[in-house]
């Protein structure tokens, strides 16, 4: 391996965080970031460890492969909706109608596929197109008339709930055949063990290749680069973590295909947010919309695209939820769906004030919420306790967000 030390630290600047300074350097950079209010995923990961530890002590079945495998499946549907919520929160807006749109999408699928004999794929496409249209309308109303998104989507929450009920008609609930592929996909399809290991190998391979190529380009350009040693350790850690998780879950049913789809959506969105011009615009609009406009960013178009993605992901999440239950009903997307999806995004570390957060926060947040739900179910506690605990966790997350925001503001004046 080529040893890439950053002998050529550029000028008086320092572009990398702690490259080539060893463990101590990392620790110092870490301390500095925490002090400056840049907490990242730390609070939620710490919270998750505590939650898992507590439930494991209270009920040894909690961390069993069977329960975790099930937990992953439980996360996928609302997690997908939460990815959309993250996007909308990033531009400092909110979508309260995600639950209704999910419910509407499930009603459309059931109506088309079960009641009118459309092909399943067509029903799904129609439901998704409807969601795209709804997002477009939200975006246009928001950008043309300047109505707060809170009010637009509140109207959408009620209006599309009504439409969902109208489509379901007197049926109340419609069962989706167990042998239809969407139900099989959501309930019974798991990644076979060999395939899981191949996927782990591919993921780590891609990570190593991209990091290594990037680090070579950086050092060729005279910028501080990740050392080979660091890349090696991080990849090794990734192999151990992903490999162990695959092995452990495969002692039971394994990793659900629906969960894999959710993770893929998160990865694609993460790429779009961090590595494309569109993603940079989303963050800029959330940070300072006037600055974004003056920099020549087509603010209205980006805002509309975000609303469309929010409603589309809500519809996909709603369809996944329906597939998992094999039924669409008046309560699909109702109840706590809205609140859980928004809470997941916020608990995962996406700021309500816009401009801060990432796609992974949807994954982390939903895992926290579903872990609490799963743990309390194992302890046979009622959902009243679940709501109270989830509410407290949400409040804690928002307090942490506000505190770190204040800390950032204080350090900004230095």
């Amino acid at each position: 391996m080529i040893d890439i030390n950053n002998q050529n630290t550029p000028l008086e600047f320092e572009s990398g965080a702690a490259a080539g300074r060893g463990v101590l350097g990392y620790w110092q950079v870490f301390r500095k970031r925490i002090g400056a209010g840049d907490l990242g995923a730390l609070p939620v990961v710490a919270g998750l460890v505590i939650i898992w530890a507590v439930f494991q002590i209270l009920n040894p079945f909690f961390l069993s492969a069977a329960n975790l495998s099930n937990l992953a499946l439980e996360c996928a549907a609302i997690g997908t909706i939460a990815v959309g919520v993250v996007l909308v929160l990033l531009i400092a807006q909110i979508d309260l109608s995600i639950g209704s749109i999910g419910g509407l999408a499930s009603a459309v699928v059931a109506y088309g596929f079960v009641l009118h004999g459309w092909p399943l794929w067509l029903s799904i496409v129609v439901a998704v197109i409807a969601a795209v249209a709804i997002g477009l309308i939200y975006g246009l109303i928001f950008t043309r008339f300047g109505v707060p998104s809170f009010v637009i989507t509140l109207a959408g929450l009620m209006g599309f709930l009504g439409l969902q009920l109208a489509i379901l008609g007197t049926n109340g609930s419609i069962n989706i055949p167990f042998d239809s592929w969407v139900v099989v996909f959501a309930q019974q399809m798991f990644i076979p063990a060999p395939v899981a290991y191949v996927l782990v190998a591919i993921a780590v391979g891609l990570y190593v290749t991209s990091t290594y190529l990037n680090s070579r380009r950086r050092s060729a350009a005279g910028l501080s680069a990740t050392s080979s040693r660091e890349i090696f350790f991080k990849s090794a850690l990734l192999v151990v973590l992903l490999g162990a998780a695959s092995w452990y879950l495969n002692t039971s049913r394994g990793i659900g295909l629906m969960f894999l789809l959710f993770v893929l959506i998160v990865i694609v969105m993460n790429y779009a947010l961090t590595r494309t011009r569109w993603g940079r615009s989303v963050y800029a609009i959330g940070g300072n919309v006037e600055a974004a406009r003056r920099a020549g960013i087509p603010v209205n178009r980006v805002v509309i695209s975000v609303f469309i993605l929010g409603t589309t992901l809500a519809a996909i999440g709603g369809i996944l939820a329906t597939a998992r239950l094999a039924s669409a009903g008046v309560s699909s997307g109702g109840g706590d769906t809205n609140l859980v999806a928004i809470a997941a995004a916020v608990i995962g570390g996406t700021s309500l004030f816009g401009g801060r957060g990432n796609a992974w926060s949807a994954l982390l947040g939903i895992v926290v919420i579903q872990s609490i739900a799963s743990g309390l179910t194992l302890l046979s506690l009622s959902s009243s306790i679940r709501f109270m605990i989830t509410g407290s966790v949400l409040l804690l997350a928002v307090v942490i967000d506000s505190l770190s925001r204040r800390s950032r503001a204080m350090h900004g004046q230095g």
């Binding site: 600047f13 572009s15 350009a221 940070g287 300072n288 950032r408 900004g412």
Partner: protein, 270 residues
């Protein structure tokens, strides 16, 4: 890059930006009347004037925010119409407004290239970081790290980032609106050094300022506006503080000179 000698010589050359008889009214209020302004490359022109003298309106005309009612603008020897902020940018006029318009949640590199990112579907962070470093180095700017978020920078550093950002499109003329208004002593000095770097790089710089010390420290010429009209165009090396103040207030006998007179009188008694 223009050497200092060339900067002095530049007066004899044709100006790169030239305004003639610019007028602008908002209803009954005449903000600008027959204002002329010339800017050469490698020259710092300070525009001074009291509140309401028309400085901001003049800047907004150049930035494409307002279009003038009458008058002509000549840019690089051809007559132009600046109809929008985008048109102004495309011509090569970069304006740094007082509120800076930076995104606090993004790092320095992202802010510098905001709206001008390299690579659309796969951002080229290496290229952007390299160019950011070299640009900030040319400006001798002191930024702890180009990957710091802007929220963590001081006022002077933010001003530096805002000015550096205006240079990304290699503009011919840079307009700075009150760049030192909110800054402390050391940070002001930093920004003034930066203005000199801009001159060395050959940009024409228009500096709007209230602070006479700053103007006398960096400007080559001072253009005074009073009540929306030209009221003096001085070479800084040939003018005194009192003369500028007289032109701003419209008289040599005013509050400022009386104060100075009273003080020197007291000193004489002691």
């Amino acid at each position: 890059m223009t050497s200092p000698e060339a900067a002095v010589m530049s007066d004899e050359r044709a100006p790169i930006l030239s305004l003639r008889s610019i007028s602008k009214a908002f209803g009954a209020v005449k903000a600008l009347t027959d204002v002329d302004l010339d800017v050469h490359s490698g020259e710092v022109v300070a525009i001074v004037g009291d509140n309401g003298a028309g400085k901001s309106t003049l800047v907004k005309v150049l930035a494409g925010v307002h279009s003038p009612d009458a008058g002509s603008i000549t840019f690089k020897k051809s007559t132009v119409r600046i109809t929008s902020p985008a048109a102004s940018r495309e011509l090569g006029i970069a304006t740094v407004f007082q509120d800076l318009a930076l995104c606090d949640n993004l790092d320095v590199v992202s802010n510098l290239f905001l709206g001008n990112e390299v690579g659309g579907f796969a951002l080229d962070e290496v290229e952007m970081e390299k160019r950011s470093l070299s640009l900030l180095h040319q400006l001798s700017a002191k930024i702890p790290s180009v990957r710091t978020v802007v929220a963590a920078l001081s006022g002077g550093q933010r001003q530096t980032v805002a000015i550096a950002r205006s240079l990304i499109g290699e503009p011919t003329v840079v307009i700075l609106d009150e760049p030192t208004a909110a800054l402390g002593v050391a940070q002001t000095a930093e920004v003034l050094n930066l203005v000199e770097r801009l001159r060395e790089r050959g940009h024409g710089v228009i500096l709007i300022s209230h602070n006479m010390a700053d103007v006398q420290a960096v400007a080559d010429r001072v253009v005074v506006l009073r009540l929306g009209r030209n009221n003096g165009d001085f070479r800084v090396s040939e003018v005194t503080y009192e003369q500028i103040v007289a032109a701003i207030t419209g008289a040599s006998d005013n509050v400022v000179t009386r104060r100075a007179g009273a003080r020197s009188g007291e000193e004489a008694k002691q």
